[in-house]
């Protein structure tokens, strides 16, 4: 067992278990915080896949931004005063069966298909300059459109959240 595998299993278990907690926990606060661990676990996986820049952005934006946002959402919408902040799961047995089938299907195909895997070649220390270069050449247009998306998102959210 070399270190690589050990670290992989640690992160894998971390992510999946915390994701489980997020989904199955009664208390929404607990699930919000479990989400924190899931995102960090995912960041770890990115590191394993030597996508260092992505790991950092993941931590920065998901954990820093979206997680906080969700917690705000939780705080604002569940008046903490009343004790009942638990949210039962919808007793929807058929829904669970459907989801179970979908995920089983996915897993089985993932395992069974012979992906076109090429042998690993040496990889530079950091991917950041390649990403930077690509962003401004090949993916220039998506980059600009992403900026417009963010503008629209901000404007829309501001409008909806405004009181007047």
């Amino acid at each position: 067992m070399n270190y690589y595998e050990i670290i992989f299993y640690v992160f894998a278990v971390l992510t999946v278990v915390s994701a489980g907690v997020v989904v199955f926990s009664r208390n929404i606060i607990y699930s919000a915080f479990a989400l924190l661990f899931t995102f960090t676990g995912v960041a770890g996986i990115y590191v394993l896949l030597n996508a260092d820049f992505i790991a950092i952005t993941q931590l920065l934006i998901y954990v820093g931004g979206i997680m906080i946002l969700l917690i705000f959402g939780v705080m604002l919408t569940t008046n903490v005063t009343n004790v009942e902040i638990t949210t039962q799961t919808l007793k929807a047995l058929p829904a669970t069966i459907v989801v179970a089938i979908v995920s089983a299907l996915l897993v089985s195909t993932m395992v069974s298909t012979k992906w076109a895997v090429k042998d690993p070649i040496s990889v530079e220390s950091t991917t950041i300059n390649q990403i930077g270069e690509l962003l401004l050449t090949k993916y220039l247009l998506p980059f600009e459109i992403a900026s417009i998306v963010l503008l629209i998102a901000m404007m829309g959210a501001a409008f909806l959240a405004r009181k007047n």
């Binding site: 195909t109 069974s112 298909t113 050449t137 220039l140 459109i145 417009i148 629209i152 909806l160």
Partner: protein, 503 residues
């Protein structure tokens, strides 16, 4: 070389740039006004007009891809740009004339910005050749439509519609993204031409590809509200403001169809084989073993049948029009089963015709809700006698939607059914015909209420201003004219079937 390519790309990217500039100008100008004004509306109209002008200028440049094969500028995208601008223009007019918006206390500044953003999203969806670009465009138009749907913050209906829309949209785009990742996994690239080259060259595990396609279909289906993915449509259409419903039902659906056509025809086009078949009909040969036309056929039949069948029970006009737009999507998908230029041109013709009759129907619905304060069909008894022009044009739209001869709807359906019969899909044609007979029932039900029953309560004539009737006629006349003199439209549709990258 890099900057040269970017500059060259920019020179072909004027319409989109103009739209983005319009968004910024709207946001900027609105800061100077306190109370509600229509200025941003006029700016939006100006922006759309400029975009239309530049699109016209683009008409005779050869089909090509720009920005490092992200976006294609070809007759196909040109057709949809024209369509989207037209519908955007009309929606802005609808918003001016809809009391619902006028009476609401919200400033309409964001409204028009989001409208332009949605149109821009549509532009990119129609012309994107890269899956990532396509996903981005989808997100842009979806996000703006979430906010538009929930525009009346105070009303329960609108906010509920927005909630359902955002959750449903989010999940669908999530599924689509997972699908895209699978395809990326299989083919190693997100560029459609690379995908088609890869798929036609080396053997691929069909099961995974199939799953990837179904997940992608979740995304497309959500956008054009095809059957298994249509569940959001009735509730969102009923909840959101009337002009937004019109917008969703026409422009976002048209963009969805553009995306669907380009993806399936380009990505799964068998690059190796020539595409001219025996009797001169242009036939795309799909990948052996991958029978996606059958998938589309099943979805089309399901969409048509469910749309028509449930519409019979509706007595809320907006919900009825929602189900009718689902059914119309079904008819268009029907044409898509015929994977040949004749099928695609039939689809495009139907889309153009669908724009006029659907927007017309929605505008009439707006006027009815303005003056009679009701969306319930049963309460529309006898209004044919009180506001004849409105009801006659409503009759024209209804008959055209149902496909009665001498209306544009008939020509649309005529081309679709002749394409089907010409390529041997007799049974699909028959099912389509039976569906249009069933659809006739609920379209005529509205006319029955308007004309055949005398008004009970006050029978005072309710007239509309000149502006309203001019717009009504502007929509009704093309619906009839295109029914008789449909030459140029079909030629334009046939011309714009040339998708970049297809022989």
């Amino acid at each position: 070389m890099l900057t040269q390519q970017i500059l060259d790309g920019l020179s072909k990217f004027y319409p989109e740039t103009i739209l983005s500039v319009t968004i910024l100008v709207i946001v900027f100008v609105e800061l100077f006004f306190k109370k509600k004004t229509r200025v941003s509306g006029w700016i939006a109209m100006a922006g759309l007009a400029a975009a239309m002008l530049f699109t016209f200028l683009q008409v005779n440049i050869p089909a090509q891809t720009i920005f490092f094969q992200m976006v294609a500028v070809d007759p196909f995208s040109y057709f949809f740009k024209v369509l989207l601008i037209l519908s955007g223009f009309l929606i802005v007019l609808f918003t001016f004339l809809s009391d619902e918006i006028r009476s609401s206390e919200f400033k309409t500044q964001e409204y028009y910005a989001l409208l332009i953003a949605l149109t821009l999203g549509g532009f990119l969806m129609a012309s994107s050749v890269n899956l990532l670009m396509m996903y981005l465009a989808l997100e842009l138009s979806s996000l703006s439509s979430y906010v538009l749907a929930g525009y009346f913050k105070k009303s329960n209906r609108s906010s509920e519609a927005a909630l359902k829309y955002v959750i449903y949209g989010g999940v669908s785009s999530g599924l689509m993204l997972f699908g895209i990742s699978l395809i990326y996994g299989i083919c190693g690239s997100l560029d459609m031409f690379a995908i088609s080259a890869y798929l036609s060259a080396n053997p691929v595990n069909l099961i995974t590809l199939l799953i990837a396609i179904f997940l992608m279909l979740a995304g497309f289906g959500y956008k054009i509200s095809a059957v298994p993915f249509h569940f959001w449509t009735p509730d969102v259409y009923e909840g959101s403001p009337m002009p937004v419903t019109a917008l969703l039902s026409v422009s976002s659906k048209a963009a969805g169809f553009a995306m669907l056509i380009r993806f399936f025809l380009v990505a799964f086009q068998n690059a190796g084989h020539p595409t001219i078949t025996t009797e001169g009909l242009h036939q795309y040969i799909t990948l052996p073993g991958l029978h996606w036309p059958e998938v589309i056929a099943v979805i089309a039949v399901a969409t048509m049948t469910l749309g028509n069948v449930v519409a019979i029970w509706q007595d809320n006009l907006k919900r009825l029009l929602a189900y009718s737009s689902i059914a119309q999507a079904g008819y268009m998908l029907l044409a898509f089963v015929v994977v040949s230029p004749q099928g695609i041109s039939a689809m495009l013709t139907y889309l153009a015709v669908y724009l006029f009759m659907n927007l017309g129907a929605f505008f009439a619905a707006i006027l009815i809700s303005n003056k009679y304060k009701t969306e319930n069909i049963e309460e529309m008894k006898g209004i044919g006698y009180r506001s004849p022009l409105l009801c006659v044009s409503m009759a024209v739209f209804m008959l055209s939607l149902s496909g009665i001869p001498m209306t544009a709807g008939f020509i649309g359906k005529f081309y679709i059914f002749s394409a089907l019969i010409n390529n041997g899909y007799i049974w699909l044609a028959i099912i389509g015909l039976m569906n249009s007979v069933v659809s006739l029932y609920y379209y005529i039900k509205i006319l029955k209420n308007m004309f055949l029953i005398r008004p009970q309560g006050d029978t005072g004539a309710v007239s509309f201003g000149a502006g309203y009737s001019v717009l009504l006629l502007a929509l009704a006349i093309p619906t009839i004219v295109l029914g008789i003199f449909f030459g140029p439209l079909t030629k334009f549709a046939e011309y714009s079937v040339q998708i970049f990258g297809l022989k």
